[in-house]
């Protein structure tokens, strides 16, 4: 089991807190090719996908102050930005976004909580790896590729602490759902 906070999350924190360009370059090297893969699976051509990757990664730089490692690993936060951008493009209107939750600016990072979320993410990845190819394919299709059907064919109350623990609960449930899918 992972013992320390992932380097991706540390890079994103360095971007957020120090506006660290080298850390941004590392994030770009890691995530830009993955975002591009997702966009191309979603039907964008190579050149367009590259332009959208630029938009997404620049949004990562500009919106880094919204990143909260207690609530999302870097991959989840970047996934959200990329998926919403993809929705904007496919539907030709902005994806509806919930209001942001503002954390008190003086909140101290809680390394233990960040690590616990990342460990839960690692377990979720392990559960994904245990699926059969067809199940993996279906889930990837839903989360990475096809947006709502016809568009694609046309185109071609609680305190924050509680939210954070609820996210892990939700992950635990998702992991169990995935585990239940596993053939005996």
């Amino acid at each position: 089991m992972q013992e320390t906070i992932s380097e991706q999350t540390l890079w994103l924190l360095a971007v957020r807190d120090q506006r660290d360009r080298q850390a941004f370059a590392r994030l770009f090297d890691h995530f830009a090719p993955r975002v591009k893969a997702m966009l191309m699976r979603g039907g964008l051509r190579d050149g367009t996908a590259e332009d959208v990757v630029q938009d997404v990664m620049l949004a990562v730089w500009r919106k880094a102050d919204q990143f909260d490692p207690h609530r999302a690993p870097a991959s989840a936060w970047i996934y959200r930005i990329a998926r919403n951008r993809q929705i904007d493009l496919v539907r030709r209107r902005p994806a509806p976004l919930p209001e942001l939750l503002d954390e008190a600016p003086d909140t101290e990072p809680d390394a233990e909580q960040i690590l616990a979320l990342e460990q839960e993410t690692t377990r979720l990845k392990a559960a994904l790896l245990a699926l059969n190819p067809e199940q993996t394919r279906t889930i990837e299709q839903a989360f990475l590729e096809e947006l709502t059907h016809t568009e694609i064919s046309q185109q071609t109350g609680l305190p924050l602490g509680t939210i954070k623990s609820r996210i892990r609960l939700g992950l635990d449930r998702l992991r169990k759902e995935l585990a239940d899918l596993k053939p005996e």
Partner: protein
């Protein structure tokens, strides 16, 4: 923040995060998440799954110079449009659907008012204003319907729905919501175009969420 007792099913939240919900339903989900920490946590958990999947796909190389382009653009001034924010009882995603303007009601009779915010091939989105004690008008609909209360309350065979609550109704539910006596009930209702959503969602998400 009021206590919310009727939430949105996890599978719908996951479908929203994955971009699988028609726009009009996503407006309701985003509005509910704006006031419901419970469902926000569910959405963020689904994003972790999305991120894990994105992290595991085979990467596709970028053209040479892509990183240089990005680095060179970091300091560019980008004029950001002023974000649309909550106004009174209307959460930000609803204000966005309203074009940032206050409601422009059309009288339907019996004191009931409505404003259609979106109506197209993928469904419709409307605001409804129901005087106290009046029945919510039936719109002869057989598909999926998400109704979020923004002010006041309504009650039907499924229970009482107050501000922040969402009722998820399928075609089989023959409900007749009545606005509560405490004051006018204002709600946001999304309905799908017939035969659209149901045919689509199970195929994509059934294995994961066992609809």
């Amino acid at each position: 923040m009021t206590v919310i007792s009727h939430h949105i099913a996890e599978k719908l939240i996951a479908a929203h995060v994955a971009g699988q919900l028609p726009h009009v339903f996503s407006v309701v989900v985003a509005a509910h998440i704006s006031v419901c920490d419970e469902c926000r946590a569910r959405a963020e958990a689904a994003e972790v799954l999305g991120g894990a999947l994105m992290d595991s796909v085979g990467p596709v190389s970028l053209s040479s110079g892509a990183l240089g382009r990005a680095l060179a653009a970091l300091d560019d001034e980008v004029p950001e449009p002023a974000p649309i924010t909550r106004s009174g009882i209307f959460p930000a995603p609803v204000m966005q659907a309203m074009g940032g303007k206050p409601p422009a009601w059309r009288m339907l009779g019996g004191g009931v008012r409505q404003q259609i915010l979106a109506a197209d091939g993928e469904g419709s989105l409307r605001l409804l204003y129901i005087p106290p004690g009046m029945a919510v008008p039936e719109h002869g609909h057989r598909g999926l319907e998400l109704t979020m209360v923004l002010q006041g309350s309504f009650s039907d065979s499924e229970g009482r729905f107050a501000a922040g609550d969402v009722e998820v109704a399928g075609g089989e539910l023959d409900h007749q919501p009545i606005a509560g006596p405490e004051g006018p009930c204002i709600c946001l209702a999304a309905t799908d175009a017939p035969l659209r959503f149901h045919a689509l969602l199970p195929r994509l998400l059934q294995p994961l969420f066992r609809i």
